[in-house]
């Protein structure tokens, strides 16, 4: 971590690989909603040199839907990816925190589906353990 | 060839009988132990019958082993019957004697078959 490049702009210097990828993502109530499987970056075109004045920008985090392509290559259709815009990120520490409740993001659909179809129907499913 | 397993099973059944006679252990534990020893004996016999002797000498040895395992199997079964105590079952004392006999047979056989060092 010592050899991160110096940066003029104020704020945190983050290593995408070390601090963003595969991190836990929490919503604004500290409820885990997913892991960062991949990121979407704007401003890179194949075959063109990077322009130092207009560096690539991370636009979204891909949650729980990009592991397979990351391991084996390929690219899922956009409709299958659960994207969280970078603007929703409110803090980055040992986990990435979002400023909104989890239900605002479509990555939590399977949680909601299993809750509504299975878990909440079993007696006691909606009660706190005693 | 299953001798060691048989010795262990016979020892286990013996211990189950003696402790239940001394009142150290409960009927359910003693019966479970003898049951398990029975299962172990079946496995040991299977192992012995699966062994195919290639020459006369080993064939003779195998016969002795199969005989001893059969006796041990009977002894363990009698132990189970003695514990359950239904009419006509062998007494605990005679079942114990039978186990003791079988145990010394197995030991003698194991010593004989042990390759000289």
């Amino acid at each position: 971590m010592a050899d991160l490049p110096k940066h003029d702009s104020p704020g945190q210097v983050l290593d995408l690989n070390l601090h963003i990828l595969d991190r836990q993502v929490l919503d604004n109530h500290d409820v885990p909603i997913g892991h960062v499987d991949n990121v979407e970056v704007d401003g890179i075109e194949p075959g063109r040199e990077l322009d130092p004045d207009a560096p690539p920008v991370v636009t979204s985090l891909v949650l729980n839907s990009g592991l397979w392509p990351r391991m084996f290559g390929g690219r899922p259709p956009r409709s299958r990816m659960h994207l969280v815009p970078w603007s929703a990120v409110s803090a980055i520490g040992t986990a990435i925190e979002l400023g909104q409740p989890g239900s605002a993001f479509d990555v939590t659909w399977s949680e909601h589906w299993i809750r509504d179809q299975v878990i909440a129907r079993i007696p006691g499913g909606r009660h706190v353990p005693e | 060839m299953g001798l060691r397993e048989a010795q262990s099973a016979v020892g286990s059944a013996t211990l189950a009988l003696t402790t239940s006679q001394d009142g150290d252990t409960t009927a359910s534990v003693a019966e479970t132990m003898v049951d398990e020893a029975g299962t172990r004996m079946t496995a040991a016999s299977k192992q012995a019958t699966a062994f195919k002797p290639t020459d006369q000498r080993t064939a003779a040895q195998m016969e002795a082993v199969t005989q001893a395992l059969g006796d041990a199997d009977t002894a363990v079964r009698h132990a189970g019957e003695a514990l359950s105590g239904y009419p006509g079952a062998p007494s605990v004392r005679s079942a114990l004697d039978e186990l003791k006999q079988s145990s010394s047979d197995l030991e003698r056989l194991a010593k004989k078959l042990e390759p000289p060092r």
């Binding site: 990828l21 595969d22 991190r23 836990q24 993502v25 409820v31 885990p32 909603i33 997913g34 892991h35 499987d37 949650l63 729980n64 592991l67 990351r70 391991m71 520490g93 040992t94 986990a95 989890g102 399977s110 949680e111 909601h112 299993i114 809750r115 299975v118 878990i119 909440a120 079993i122 006691g124 499913g125 909606r126 009660h127 706190v128 353990p129 005693e130 | 060691r4 397993e5 010795q7 262990s8 020892g11 286990s12 013996t14 211990l15 189950a16 402790t19 009142g23 150290d24 252990t25 409960t26 009927a27 359910s28 534990v29 019966e31 479970t32 132990m33 398990e36 172990r40």
Partner: protein, 409 residues
Amino acid sequence: MKRYFAVALGILTAIGGFVDIGDLVTNAVVGSRFGMSLAWAVVVGVVGICLFAQMSGRVAAISGRATFEIIRERLGPRAGTANLVASLLITIMTLTAEVGGVALALQLASGVQPLLWIPVAAFAVWLVIWRVKFSIMENVAGVLGLSLVVFGVALFLLGPDWGELKDQALQQTSHPRETPLTYWYYAIALFGAAMTPYEVFFFSSGGVEERWTEKDLVTSRANVLVGFPLGGLLSLAIAGCAATVLLPRGIDVDALSQTVLPVAMGAGQLGLAIVILGVVAATFGAALETGLSAGYALAQFNGWSWGKFRRPAQAARFHLTIIICLVVAVLVLLTGIDPILVTEYSVVFSAVALPLTYLPILVVANDPQYVGEHVNGRLLNAVSSVYLVVILVAAVAAIPLMILTKAGA
């Protein structure tokens, strides 16, 4: 005052929680075949689990991140997924063994076939995970498990030849009926029984469940450093009982009944009742821990919401995972497979999988971003590195030894 009570309770539950079906079976098998001559392997395992649990507890308390979140972060997708698959398989295998152990112990108490007890035991495990608060679950199982101390009492009452036991442990007397390969195979099995990976998933996730903070570090350290070694002593007492009663009679342990029989001989029917209670509590407690650990591992790896501090409806996928794992365990057991056999394999595979979880924890315990000023000290890192080598050697040697010895036959 409350604090001392918390420390004492933590230590007691750590002792009671240390022993599970793996320790019960492996220690009795080894005691009946090798006497006390593998006692050193228990000691090595106990020191290892202390190191490991202490590090993962510290990481959980300070960063709030449990083990599998860290495995995912540090190992990335490929190695992480491989790790998840291996860890889940072993945890489910251990869960199967524990549920089977509960059924076997209930058979000893009642005389009723274990096949009938299996669904009952699994349902009870689920019900506790579903409805009972984490701290109550943990403390009740741990304190009841403490009745296994009767193994130690029985050993004294049996009046063994202590000098003989000491000689076996220290002078490595020969075992005419065994080969060196089986000796090393069982050394690894004992190591794996003491250092089961699920214990670490559970310990670190438990830290998050109980909302540990920096203030709880002392308590957690005391639990581990006092509780686990005492649990190890209990393991040695189990081996000692088997070495005293079963070894001289040529009885190789292959059933739970043989494990508890020496207690009956030493302490009579009262001792027998206590030890059966202890075995039920220890295996039941471990079934709770392994069931939860399977849920923790999968949920943390995927970043799902998890934990018993939430309502089940707020951790739906976590609870569904646990239900599925319990169903799998029951189905496996209903095939009639011997739970003792499952146990013997599970402890060896635990040793195989250990480096997968140990290494990421060791790395993160040195990362100030996670643990701040509480990074490993120099001495701790030296010992941990030695253990990394031990763990790697055991993991690599386990499978070849298993094949060569036909799983210790």
